[in-house]
Symmetry: C2
Subunit: 278 residues, 2 copies
């Protein structure tokens, strides 16, 4: 594992690493914020999953989350949104497929199936790597994300009872089987058998989730992707039917940008901090 950069922020350290990922069969980068408390004790970890076109860097450049993590004594980790430079046909042509668009799943269809295994990477490999190199209380972890990353966070938490203490999302893709982004990704990465798609659709998963981990979602009402791609009402209906606890906060005036995330990231970190303190 190679450290690429290091910046002091809000009394702690933001560090970026590159490592050879065995799940994705390529080099992957991640960024980690270690608050000041990390110098003296093991801390819980909150994983961030970014949206389409992002890398592991956007969240730390724009969200302004460090001061809240420093206040709460939580380590933040952001991973990349796809393998990079694996040179698959078509991986660089579309912004919503291939590079920058891994959708946090394990692809089953060629040519994607060899490298596009972000689900295993985020669930297993990255936490093991983080726990082996940083002062982490590995039993205390939570997850949140934005848009495609909100989808990833919901899917990972709903499919893995007890792994995450808490889950939240900003403007997540909650029903990928019912929007163009999800259909394009799933048909390419998973093929046309839609029974396989359900394992990566939060609105399907919530109907069979054994452990009813509460879900917190903030969604901007002025989000340019709200009606066509995000469709929070589908998850809301599924949660009602499954009696799954969901707090869906529609936020007037907010769009899909990091300005929206920045406005509420402090509340999300406080939400996770409470769960991680238990």
């Amino acid at each position: 594992m190679e450290r690429i950069s290091r910046h002091k922020v809000c009394g702690g350290w933001l560090e970026r690493y590159r490592h050879a990922a065995s799940t994705c069969q390529c080099d992957m980068c991640f960024s980690i914020y270690l608050p000041p408390q990390a110098e003296k004790q093991k801390l819980p970890v909150l994983y961030w999953l970014s949206g389409l076109t992002c890398t592991d860097e956007n969240f730390f450049q724009k969200a302004g989350a460090e001061r809240y993590a420093a206040e709460a004594g939580i380590i933040l980790v952001a991973c990349d949104t796809s393998p990079r430079k694996v040179h698959l046909p078509g991986d660089e042509t579309d912004w919503d497929l291939g590079t920058g668009a891994g959708f946090y799943l394990n692809a089953t269809k060629a040519p994607w199936s060899r490298h596009y295994r972000l689900y295993d990477y985020v669930l297993d490999e990255l936490p093991r790597l983080v726990a082996s190199h940083f002062p982490v209380d590995a039993q205390r972890k939570s997850i949140f994300g934005h848009s495609m990353g909100g989808h990833g966070a919901l899917v990972l938490a709903l499919r893995n009872s007890g792994v995450y203490r808490s889950i939240s999302a900003f403007a997540p893709i909650v029903a990928p089987m019912q929007c163009a982004w999800g259909n394009k990704a799933f048909s390419n990465y998973l093929g046309e058998d839609k029974s396989l798609w359900q394992d990566y659709d939060a609105s399907c998963l919530v109907q069979k989730a054994q452990h009813k981990l509460p879900i917190l979602i903030d969604q901007g009402e002025a989000d340019e992707f709200l009606v066509e791609q995000l469709k929070p009402e589908i998850l809301q209906l599924a949660c009602t039917q499954a009696d799954h606890p969901l707090t869906l906060r529609m936020q007037a005036g907010y769009d899909h940008s990091y300005f929206f995330i920045r406005s509420f990231v402090g509340e999300h970190i406080a939400y996770h901090a409470e769960a991680l303190a238990r």
Copy 2:
């Protein structure tokens, strides 16, 4: 004046505008953050000046200042660092001269003298424009900036007694006559007569400032430009000799990036809020 973009942030609105600037004889852009209080009352304004290579956008994308401005009820304005697309010989070849490097002065030497008039733009034109379009208490304004923008803020405040209520800077160029960045800019924009340079050198100006407005500076000790370009000890000595109040805080571990700015921007805004409330 044309609005280019608008985002809701921390309960207020971040807006970006383009307008025909009479001082600079070209179109200029600026960004303004209007906290929620601006819907009901006139508010003081805090001007931000960015460093080399920045536009009016970097500060709002990276500093995370909006929540502090919303808490304090202060309007934030960030302007560009130079004219754009005026097509002067050499304006695009160097990152520390021409485009992105206006140094907040009025150039006197061709070809720069026609457009490079950021000093008058920031001091007069922009505040008049802001006051005529937004709910501003025009008598209450302060200024701060980073690196080249810290230089600009210091020069504007030291040369214009009573115009700004308070002044602060992150890692400013405090003695441009004694560093390569300043020498390159001043010899190109002002010519070789160094007596003219003194009007844009904070460490010279502090020696003849009539109104001893206190100066707050944060400077990272791990700043990669500290020794060669920033040289805070020169301003410190000048302030001691002139009995000018200076609070210079050397911050261990911090570099020259926006991660440094983000770490202390809340304290700077609180500092200005106190002065602006008087």
